[in-house]
């Protein structure tokens, strides 16, 4: 095994170990934080872009002004809204 291979092996072990520790200590919390953020974002989109679902909450003037900021989120939002959900999801 060359010096470079040894270094790369040690580097790989270090990375895997730190990933493992992160997975045990913080990954679930990260997911929970993302879920909270996702829920807030979806609520925001519902309020601003409710017209898309036939729920006009804000006057269209404001929706139009906010549209450029919401566009990047719309596909993800639709995917989450349309996905079939189950009670067991609450355990994930």
């Amino acid at each position: 095994m060359t010096e470079e291979e040894k270094r790369s092996l040690i580097q790989k072990i270090k990375e895997n170990l730190s990933d493992f520790i992160y997975g045990m200590a913080s990954h679930e919390a990260t997911r929970q934080a993302l879920k909270t953020r996702g829920s807030m974002e979806h609520l925001f989109i519902l309020i601003t872009m409710g017209d898309l679902l036939g729920v006009p909450i804000l006057p269209p003037y404001y929706s139009l002004r906010l549209l450029p900021y919401v566009v990047p989120q719309i596909s993800t939002w639709k995917r989450r809204m349309l996905r079939e959900k189950d009670l067991v999801d609450a355990l994930a």
């Binding site: 045990m24 996702g38 009670l87 067991v88 609450a90």
Partner: protein, 589 residues
Amino acid sequence: MAFWTLLITIVIVILGYRYYTNRVDQQIVAADPKRATPAKMYNDGVDFMPASGSVLFGYQFKSIAALGPIVGPITAVQWGWLPAVLWLIVGVFFIGWVQDYASAMMAMRNDGMTMGGLAYKYISPRARGILLSFLYFYLLLIMGAFGAVVAGLLAAPTVPIGFLILTLAGVLAGQMTYRWRMDLVMTTVVTVLIALVGIWLGTMPWAQSIVKAINGMAGNAEGVLYSTPYGPMKWSVWFWGIIALVFTYFGSVLPIWRFAQPVNYVSFWFVMLGIVGSILGVIIATFTGATGVSFEIPAYIAFNNHLGPLWPILFVTISCGAISGWHSLVSTSGTARQLEKETDAKPVTAGAMYTEAVLAVLAVVFAATAIAKADGSVLYDAANGYKLSVGAGGIWIYGMARFLSVVGIPADLGGAIGGIFLAVMALTVMQLVLRFMRVASAELLGDKIIAFKNPHVGSLVAIAFTLLILWTAFWQRIWVLFGGANQLFAGLALLLVTIWLANEGKKYEWVFWPGVFMYVTTVAALLITAWKSFSAAFAPDTAAAFMVGNLIAGLIGLFLAIAALILAWDGWKSLSTARSKMAAAPSGD
């Protein structure tokens, strides 16, 4: 003996992973690294999101390893250490990893569907409804069984003060990270040090005397409230049970960053210290003789004991470590939605399960190497068929104190770390379970009783049920019931996987027969436990509270057994349909 038992387990685990798991992964399920996984197809940055295999291995291990691999083996040693070790090894080799891995693969190949959706799709709409009600009682049993163990742990004089300071250090960690935006390394060093000092302070005589005073508040020195045929019901279980549930309540209703996550983060370092330190302790003690490593409990004691016959009761007393239905929930709802490649499923799910089996064998080592403490107090009563004389938590605390002292950690501090280690592992799962029970009651009852839509009402109702079980039932009986429900859930997961494989035209015997074994064993165990509970409830001169506890235990056991039989009937019909389709399909396609 302890070292060699651990070594043999590790060798068998490696062989199982290298040969059997590889064969199934490559030849039967045919995991394909190029096939798009739900994490990639439906990436929404929230539920579906790819993560690396190493991260998911840590996540899976942390999610599946709670009290099960520790308390189960410690309780099961009452039949002898050999049946416990054999079931752990054979169970994980042929059934445990099979369930975890196969349920993750099934969910991945079904767009990341959860157990409820899969039961609806592969069995029947009725199966989904039964599954969800089954799940509620199963989770209630987790709360009762884990709550009882945590109450016992917190009643140990060296544990509660340290636990309280660790909790405060966790809250501080949340404040430092998310509000004050401080560096994570600095936050970790400061809060872990505070927690360590707190745990050490908790072992001081003044701190222990406070806890002893609380434990004795029932009016007599032992704090006994009433006697049961299984031993005294103590005031400390009531008091510390409430404290544990208050902790769980905060974890369930407060924002995750404020309480649950930072407390778990700080505790994680003590869990790692406990696992690594005690394994090192066993190895060093084997070669230096620093503490006893020979098994003091006989290899085999008797077929029958106060919990029931070895088959089927031992097979449900040890669930996690050998096989556990909880893992199928984690694999389907959590891991399957994050796997980047299909080929990562094997190291993540099977790897975590095999690792958990090693942890469970470590618990057997802790239990079997000491039947009495150095001060002479009895842990397993040799004169009475090696009956457990203290709570399972007490055995774990003493075992960890002994083996951590070999690596230089004072015995009192080591014991306190062991107690906190176990309490935190249990409370992490209890917070998640309470959160789920609150959501489940809002979903199922919220339209009829509007109050259930309030998160505090749902949480408090679940807590009230838990307290009722905790205060009235015998913890070992609840543990066996929890194990029965857990293993039955595993049987259901295996049934679902069997039907899925049959529908896909793949070999399913490697899942079907373990599933049949689990079904028969767990239904038998639940019926025996229900019968024993009813007998105890209606025995003459039974205390009223004890009668209530046994009635609840008996009714839950009976309900779970009946639900399982209905599910098995529906499942069998679906499997027969899938098999006839399989037989009718042209071969070689």
